[in-house]
């Protein structure tokens, strides 16, 4: 089971890196989201897939016998929420950049690079 998880996570990271290296910023965004998903799978693994018993101490006992680790699940929930916020933010940026530049190719979106370019001769472009 652990091996299967590890292979799925590494496969997802591989796909994500391929997407991130694309010149299209929407693919870049999809790649970044995919990578966060892969990392969440790894986080899930850090709690070890041993038990599905909830981490509740029965009345009268002091210690837990065999229960799932709740911390990684809390981490994943937080990471999912943060990932969603960033994805939304990036989507807005991509949309505005598309409206402003008329293209999604990152090689053509160059207005920040032209602002204050030292190689033009002092005339604002």
């Amino acid at each position: 089971m652990n091996i299967l998880y590890a292979f799925v996570a590494s496969g997802l990271v591989g796909c994500a890196v391929y997407m991130v290296l694309s010149r299209n910023i929407v693919r870049l965004l999809l790649g970044l989201s995919l990578m966060t998903t892969a990392v969440n799978l790894v986080l899930f693994q850090t709690g070890r897939n041993r038990s599905s018993q909830p981490p509740l101490i029965p009345e009268g006992d002091v210690t837990l016998a065999d229960a799932a680790d709740p911390v990684p699940q809390a981490l994943i929930l937080t990471a999912i929420v943060i990932g969603m916020a960033l994805t939304v933010m990036f989507t807005v940026l991509a949309l505005r950049a598309y409206r402003g530049h008329g293209t999604l190719l990152s090689t053509r979106i160059r207005s920040a690079e032209r602002l204050g370019d030292p190689f033009d001769d002092g005339v604002r472009g």
Binding site: L43, L75, A79, M89, L93, G100, R110, A112, L115
Partner: protein, 501 residues
Amino acid sequence: MIADAFFNGLAFWPVGVPLAAAGLAIFLHRAPAVQRRVLEAGVLLMLVVSALLLVQVTRQDVVTTAFGGWRAPFGVTFVADRLSAALATVTGLVALAVTIFCRAEIGPRRRRAGFDALFLAMLAAVNGAFLTGDIFNLYVWFELMLVTALGLMTLDRHRSQMDGAIRYAAMSMLGATFILLGVGLLYGEAGSLNMADLAERLAGRSPTVTLSASGFLLLAGFALKTGLFPLFFWLPAAYHTTPIAALAALAGLLTKVGFYACLRVFVLVFDVAGAPVIPGLPALFGVLAAATMIVSVLAAIAQADIRRLLGYHIVGQVAYPMVGLAVASFAGIAAAIFYMLHTMLVQTGLFLGAGAVARANGSYDMRRCGGLMVHHPMFAGLFAMLAFSMVGIPPFSGFWGKVFVIDAAFRGGSVWLAVVALIVGFLTLYSMSILWSQAFWKAAPRSRRMLRRIPPAMTFAMAVICACTLGIGLAVEPVSEFVHAAARQMTSGGTMAGGMP
């Protein structure tokens, strides 16, 4: 009763105050004048509670606040030691100067677009990163910082700002993923998230594959946020599109939070200064710092736009404290802390100065500027003080920062690093003299006889920063003692820094 509650939560207030003010400012977005009051009151109150925290920390060494009744190491704790409290106080000073500057720079349109709320939330995130004792919580503050910085960057909704923000967002999201993965692997290996607890659990461990992978992922993530070679190219490609008042705050605060995370995680958790968990990391730090300094200063010399020129200097200046970390001695860490406090103030001041230059000349291109020395001698004097401080000329704080860093490198046996730092210091002087002779010394371009007036708020904001850097430079003895105490507290084991009972 109320006083008790206040002092028990003291480590939280530098985060809680700006966060509450940000929440208030969001609801007031229709009333820009009220929003400005909220911003000013929030920043002032934040500075006061940070200073109180600093005083309290010098008395009782460490102030902790645990949340939700979960004791450390199980819950999230906020821990203020000397380093964290000093950084929070300097953040307050930086925020104060920027807020004063905003009176002349940020108009009702930008306030309606949410400047105040974003700026306050960014301050909360910066202080949160400085004060948290939990490594996952640190990651969360990094993400909040990123979202608010993106908001500030795209405040005017220009095309170039969208372009810059995409570059910044893509690289930073990648860096944050590295940090998250590193934190996850660390938890899987050591079973804790509290940094002091992690330090105890990792002490004496031999490096496993998981630990090394986690260490290098964290390094990659933090190096990207700090702007270290080869991961700094996003910074000068994105920062210069930001409105100048926000840019001054970004320049002073964000990359230093990245470096703070490096310092805290690698000194405390991976113990590079004592018995390193991963051997060879300090040597790698040295190579990264040297490469960052050389590449960034050479790139700065080629620039014509003042914001871009100073943008490359942000990158170069953050590499100096990295030299201190690379030496990995007690003196090196003390020097790194001193340099970090100095550079937060001075970078902000220089960008505020760039804003005033553009106000007087109507351009950020220094070939089209000039005449400031004649028309605005007082402003020119203030800018010169900050430039001297950055280059490292006495009696300013930058001189002592460079002395401590280079001295630590010589004593630590990294002579080559000290030599690189000295040469880069000369090149920094060269780059700043180009800026000085172009924008200040040469006559104003013929098309513009009279320069525009510089509002007093701008000059006053710079004067605040100048007073700080001059004050640190003149009172170097107590500051240096404080910094050494902070370094001792950091390196003397986990009990101090992580809120363990």
